[in-house]
């Protein structure tokens, strides 16, 4: 894997940014994009691609394709909503209880350096993401799957309506 990555990296062009928009965007991603935002991006792009791939899957009969596309839409909406909320919730929880000081320091590591805010923010995000995994053990079964079923049953008749149209 490392060899393949190195092979690709060596063939990519060299670039030096001097301020500018692209450098700003890269910095912004580094500072602001964490697991919840990542989940939102994956979810939004999934809605734009997956239902169409499923709906135009000629390997199965029309009825199954419709249910499959409806289920994909439902799964993406439910998964994104639950995934985002759980990740965001746990990240906020860790932020609240990782202060430097005598109070609200349950998640504060003893080795943390106070005057490195970006590094500390990354730690808070990482801890939030780890706890979110534990949260998802519960929410995936208790919220995600039933919500997917509810949405599938809600969306399927709407896809079934048009005689010759696509996904409505």
């Amino acid at each position: 894997m490392i060899k393949i990555t190195n092979f690709i990296v060596k063939r990519l062009p060299k670039k030096e940014f001097n301020g500018g928009r692209t450098e700003g965007i890269i910095h912004w991603f580094g500072k602001h994009i964490s697991a919840p935002e990542n989940r939102l991006i994956i979810g939004a792009s999934a809605l734009l691609s997956q239902p169409f791939i499923d709906y135009y899957n000629k390997d199965v009969d029309e009825e199954t394709r419709k249910v499959s596309a409806a289920r994909t839409i439902a799964k993406t909406i439910a998964g994104t909503l639950t995934g985002y909320s759980v990740r965001e919730g746990f990240t906020k929880l860790v932020e609240k209880y990782s202060e430097f000081g005598p109070k609200n320091n349950f998640f504060t590591p003893s080795k943390a350096i106070k005057n490195m805010p970006h590094t500390y923010k990354q730690y808070q995000n990482a801890m939030g993401m780890t706890l979110a995994i534990l949260g998802m053990v519960v929410t995936n079964f208790a919220i995600d799957a039933p919500l997917t079923n509810f949405l599938t049953n809600f969306i399927t008749p709407k896809i079934n309506k048009p005689k010759d149209g696509g996904v409505q």
Partner: protein, 252 residues
């Protein structure tokens, strides 16, 4: 080891290993969340009584194929794109003017004898430099040395400057490239590769299951037919009274 100590060690481990960039964490938690999500969805299909048995025959293998391909492609593709993003910065192929200037002032060679330095990791090199200044500062403060306050101040400033630079300039840029790599990899693997690969696998499994079910139905029907025929055949002793009765018997 007490629970409090375990907690303390865990927090420090997380701080030391995941505070430089979120790429690894996104990959790790992303993979785990897809596994959990797939288990939840399978349970959901089983519990949904509004989906017919026939459609479930497609949805189960679709979900399993989805999970297997998703987890596999997510891990492979996202890891590769994440690593590419990271290596582009750490090897010095994509830099900012500020990072390049810092490398020159701190004598971190990106190019040596006209060639790129193999295995260079600018992030690690900056940390090593800071550690060297810290060691030099400690030495200049230690006993047996005449404390040169100008030197001490210089080292202290250097350490502070390097840490600020790492935290404020290098880490967000390198982390940003790593996160962009992770996001691109996740989108491509989960939303394009997975559905394109899982659908033919799931439909093949559905066809296989339907054919098997038809064969089973035919065999069942054949068995029922044979049983029915067997029931219609009357045993010989039912004809016995006809032979003995004069009215019903055959006249020879």
């Amino acid at each position: 080891m007490t629970l409090a100590n375990m907690g303390k060690n865990f927090k420090n481990y997380m701080y030391e290993h995941f505070s430089t960039g979120l790429g690894n964490m996104l990959l790790l938690t992303g993979t785990l969340s897809w596994i959990l999500s797939a288990l939840g969805q399978l349970a959901g299909i089983a519990a949904n009584d509004k989906i017919s048995k026939e459609k479930k025959k497609f949805l189960y293998p679709q979900e399993i194929a989805d999970a297997a391909i998703n987890i596999f492609s997510f891990f492979i593709v996202t890891k590769a794109t994440k690593d590419i993003g990271k290596y582009l910065v750490s090897s010095g192929r994509i830099l900012t003017k500020k990072i390049n200037s810092k490398c020159i002032t701190e004598s971190i060679d990106i190019i040596k004898d006209g060639k790129r330095v193999k295995g260079l990791d600018i992030g690690n090199a900056l940390s090593t430099k800071a550690a060297e200044y810290e060691a030099a500062l400690k030495l200049s403060k230690s006993e047996g040395y005449i404390i040169d306050s100008a030197k001490v101040t210089k080292f202290e400033e250097k350490i502070k400057d390097l840490k600020n630079f790492s935290d404020d300039v290098y880490a967000p840029f390198a982390g940003g490239m790593e996160v962009i790599g992770s996001v691109v990899g996740a989108v491509v693997s989960s939303n394009i590769i997975t559905p394109l690969l899982r659908n033919p696998i799931a439909s093949a499994k559905q066809k296989f299951d339907i054919v098997n079910e038809q064969i089973e139905k035919q065999q069942q029907a054949q068995l029922e037919k044979t049983n029915k025929q067997a029931l219609n055949k009357q045993p010989l002793n039912t004809y016995q009274p006809r032979l003995t009765q004069p009215s019903g018997g055959m006249k020879i």
